[in-house]
Every structure is written in C-alpha cells, then in structure tokens.
Symmetry: C2
Subunit: 335 residues, 2 copies
C-alpha cells in the first residue's frame, strides 16, 4: 500500500479516536507514529498503534489521562502523565522546559507514570528546533544482562542526543544500549536463523547464536561490553530512581505478563547554547560544523542520515505500508 503522509496521519487519528483517546493524545500520538513511519523507522511507525491499542485493552494505559505539568524546581520540570502515553506529556511540558533552559542555561524534565512507546529522537528534534542541545534517557523492560552476567537486569535503555546545525539537518543520535533491538532477535527466532555472537547469552550466561535460547530463559546483551553495560545502568538510575520512577525490572513486573508497552519514566536534559555562550554562540556553533566536516572528511557518516534521506523520499512520494500491517490497522477500527 502506497499512502501519502496525510493518508497515514488520518488513519492514525481515526484509530486513536476510535479507541477513546482524547484529542490532545490523538494529535500527539499520531504525530509521533507518522514521524516514525515517514523516517522509515518501521518499528516506531504505524506498527506501534497495534501495541498502543493492546496496552489500552490490557488496562495498562489510560486513553483520557490529563498530563499535569509541575514547576518542580528552578531548573526542573516534572510532568505526571497519570498513566497516559508519553507524547502528550512531553508536548505539554516542553514550553516550561524551554523557558527554564533559556533562563538557567541547563534544565531537566522528568516525565513520570507514562506508557512509553516513542522513539526519543522525535522529542530531541523538537528541542533542537528551538536551538537547544538535548539528551534523553528512558528504561524499558528488563531483558538485557549486565556485562559478565547471566540474568536480565536492564532494559534496552536508549540514549539520545541532539545538536542544532544552522542550515543543516541536526546532529541527532538515538540508540538502544542493548547490542540489538529485541525485535531483531524475535525475527531470527521466527525465521529459525542463528544470531551473531554478542547479541545474547543463554540461561547459563554463555554466549549463544540461538535466538530461542536468548528469548526463552536467556538474556540480551548490551553493546560495547562493560562500557555499554555501565551506560545502561546509568539510564536505569537517571530515568528511574532519580526521577522517582520505575526501573526496567519494576516496569516488567508491573506488566505482569500482559505484553503491554513499558510503563515508567523518562528524563530529558537540555542545554541552551545561547545562554552558555552569549554573543559568541554563532562562532562556536560554526566550530562545531568543522567537527562534522571532519567526520565526513574521514569517510564516515553522521547518525540519522538514513532517516533524513527517508524523510525526503516520504515527503515526495508517500510511504509504503506492508499489506498485512495495513489490514491489521484497519481491524483496529472495528475492534
């Protein structure tokens, strides 16, 4: 199915309204999944609507939750999602977060008690569009073993970062601290294909190429050995106990076998380069450009380039939805 961005937006909105989402959530969630689809991040595209509706039906998400924005401290915003999906909370907290970063130089926003399905780059991009530098952290479900360990403790725990580039697409990365997405291991298991060493361990903590041994009783691994593992623990701490919200293990316990989307918190940290640098801001942003030129000149690519290329394609030609996914999405309008 070839569909325009307007078509998929309308489809997403219809599905969300059909399932009782209030208009603010309809707009925020539709915006998020359409951006994912547009940038060909398929696992964060319209596919997510299946998990969103399933989570609602399992009683693990609230379709009409009203986010509560709390001016918690001079440099900290908190948003209590009250069990709702995170994108509307982010959107409602954003203006106060931007204000605080502009006045203080650095500010943080904690989103609490939210169902989390969004790619972090969507939020990073919204902050970078305001000329800000941003980081984001969120846990997930405890599927990943610490380096040297044989039991899952961490979530896939993404870290995202963005830097504004006047006249260019921003420098943005957003990656899981797990070696690979859980979905990729699932795909190998279904196809009965071996996985590369380094993706996971079996129940005894031994390296394995058997996807089934990782999914059933084993654990995924972090990227980058003990360094990736340390970063994953950092994500748990910053976006868990520091903001008074659940770790990946606690989120998985809350899920209680319902296979819902994770329920927990998120932490954003935002810097205002103008407040840091004053009149010299443009000069130093230009120096940053020489770093990016150096990366390209070395023969490497900047992160997110594939996304930006997909975006141009999708804006010109629309997106291709697999027939099976399109059929599943239409079924959501009946269920």
């Amino acid at each position: 199915m070839q569909l325009s961005l307007t078509d998929i937006r309308e489809l997403a909105e219809r599905i969300l309204r059909h399932h009782g989402f209030t208009e603010g959530h309809v707009q925020a969630v539709a915006d998020t999944v359409v951006r994912g689809q547009r940038d060909e991040c398929h696992s964060h595209g319209l596919y997510r609507l299946l998990g969103i509706v399933a989570t609602l039906k399992a009683g693990k998400g609230v379709a009409d939750a009203e986010p509560e924005v709390i001016d918690h401290a001079p440099a900290v915003v908190k948003v209590n999602a009250h069990g709702g999906f995170s994108p509307l909370s982010f959107r409602q907290g954003l203006p106060l977060l931007v204000d605080k970063a502009r006045s203080g130089g650095i500010a943080a926003m904690a989103i609490n008690n939210c169902v989390h399905f969004s790619a972090l780059w969507v939020e990073i991009e919204a902050l970078v569009e305001q000329g800000l530098v941003a980081m984001a952290f969120t846990p997930s479900h405890a599927w990943v073993a610490p380096a040297g360990g044989r039991k899952p403790v961490f979530g896939t725990n993404p870290i995202a970062f963005g830097w504004p580039r006047p006249g260019h697409n921003p420098y943005i990365f957003d990656f899981a601290t797990s070696a690979i997405a859980r979905g990729d291991i699932e795909l190998h298991r279904r196809a009965d294909k071996p996985i590369p060493l380094g993706w996971g361990v079996d129940a005894e903590g031994q390296p394995t190429t058997d996807a089934n041994a990782v999914i059933n009783g084993g654990s995924m691994l972090t990227f980058g050995g003990h360094k990736g593992s340390a970063l994953s623990a950092m994500v748990e701490l910053l976006a868990g106990p520091l903001i008074g919200d659940l770790t990946s293990a606690e989120s998985l316990a809350f899920d209680d076998g319902s296979r819902s989307l994770p329920y927990h918190g998120e932490l954003l940290v935002v810097f205002d380069p103008k407040r840091f640098l004053g009149d010299d801001c443009d000069t130093h942003l230009l120096r940053a450009e020489s770093l990016f030129e150096g990366i390209i000149d070395a023969g490497a690519r900047l992160p997110s380039q594939r996304r930006y290329e997909a975006r141009l394609r999708s804006e010109a030609q629309g997106v291709e939805l697999p027939d099976a996914l399109y059929a599943d999405l239409l079924k959501l309008l009946e269920a």
Copy 2:
C-alpha cells in the same frame, strides 16, 4: 619501591613546588595523582607528574594561574583556568556548583582553558560525596577515527558518571570512548606485539593488528562501533563548542608537536536527588540499591570495584612504585 600514601604525597608536593606551582595547585594536583596511585590507576598516578612537568617546560601550562570562578547563569558555573591545570579549577568551582545543583535541581560547570590530565572519577567522587549524581565529559587529542572513517577526528573522550550509595562505595564509572587507551597501543608497539582487531585502523582505514600502523598514520577506534562513535562526538560537542572551548582536533593543533598534556575544557552536569525527590529521596535511593543487587545477583561486577579494592590495599600497605618511575620522579627534583 614500597611507599606509604604519606610518602608519595610528600614526593608529589615537593616536585610540584620545585617547578613553581603555587600552593593551591600543589595541593590540588598532588591530591589527584595520589588518589590515582592509591587506586592503582597507574596512568593517572604519580607517572602523570612527568607529563605535567614536561607540559610546563614546553610552555603549554601555567604553574601559577589563578582560576576565576564565574557565576555565569542560574544553573551554570564557569571556571576560567587561565592556562592552569584543571584540578584547582574544579576545586574552586565546586562549592558554587553544589549550591546551584541543590537550589535548581540540576546544574552544570564548565572548566575552560585548562591543561587536563586528571581522571574524571576523582571529581565525580567529590560530587557524589555531597550526595549528588554527576556526569563529566572532556575531549583530549584527536587520535580516534569515527566509525567507518579512516582519519582521526575524536579524542579518547572519556565519559564518567557517579551515583551515591549510602553505606557503600558509590557507583562510579569513568571510561574512554576509544576502544582502548593510547598507552596500551604504545606498549604493544614497543613490545612489537600484535594488537587485537577493533583497536585501530591503518592509514587507509583498514582494520589492522599492527600497532605501528595505528600510531603512525592510522587511527584508533572507538568502543562499540557507531554507537561509541556517536557518544565520542557528543563529548566533543558538549565539552567543546557548547562551553566555548577546543575540540580534540583543535587541542592537538594547539599542542603543535610538543607532546604536552591536552589543553581544552571540561563539562560537569550535576543532579541533586534530594531536590528531585524531596522527602521520598531515601526511598528511591533504596530502590536504586535493588538495581545494584540485581547486577551482582546476575553474576556481574559493578564498575570501580577493582579501584576500591586497590584503595583498601594501598591504605593498609602503601603503594608499589616501579624503581624506574621512582628514579624518573627524583630526577624531576633536580631538573
């Protein structure tokens, strides 16, 4: 040579005074290198005094620089090191940084125009002792290629993080975003031993086991492929242009072949859990403990454990300095 911690402290202070360091620098630098030696981080121990004195002699560091602490923004401290070595700047900026974190919830400190030789964990530990959560970033010299690249762009760019654990040694990590320390590749080159694949590439960007090809014309690599590479770029940006200071490439250009210690900036980001969590702080710090228990229960180790074990040994028995290093240090008292 077996020496007590008091002995090595006195030796470090004598060397620093002999080379014209003002008393504040003597105390701050001696404290830093003694802590490194005590924790058996040999490359950050008394060995560093050789590089510190060489940097002074090359005219790339100022022994009597007076750090200037600037209350830059409600949530940002800047310290202009004025060409001095970073530890005194950190020490003098610390009280204002702590105040800002306690009142605002989050705060940042930029140290500018400093010679940087210190392990970041020393500073992270000072912040964690105040009950704060802390991150630190600093560039170095451009020796490391971005993932997929064939030319050096990044420094070894460490990232450090700390979390207070009441009744336990804190959770602290401090690692280079390069796959390995440059010193380790140097050691292999001198011993004419092959290096493992993944440490570096040759001048054409091809993976190599030849240490010489990496050091002469080639590049080191980051840990964790494109993810580690993205993090390394983040360190350049946060602790470079964002704070108006040099990137690793600019620092290496400033060095101008003198082989001095890197001259650039550092960024610290500090969170106050009490300000984030109020009366519930203790409850949530206790939940963090269940994460650490989970890591240990999974059969993994916490970062810094080896350092803490070395510390106990050194406090009880003193430290072992290689004879050659001790002789080199004594020579610094004559030069």
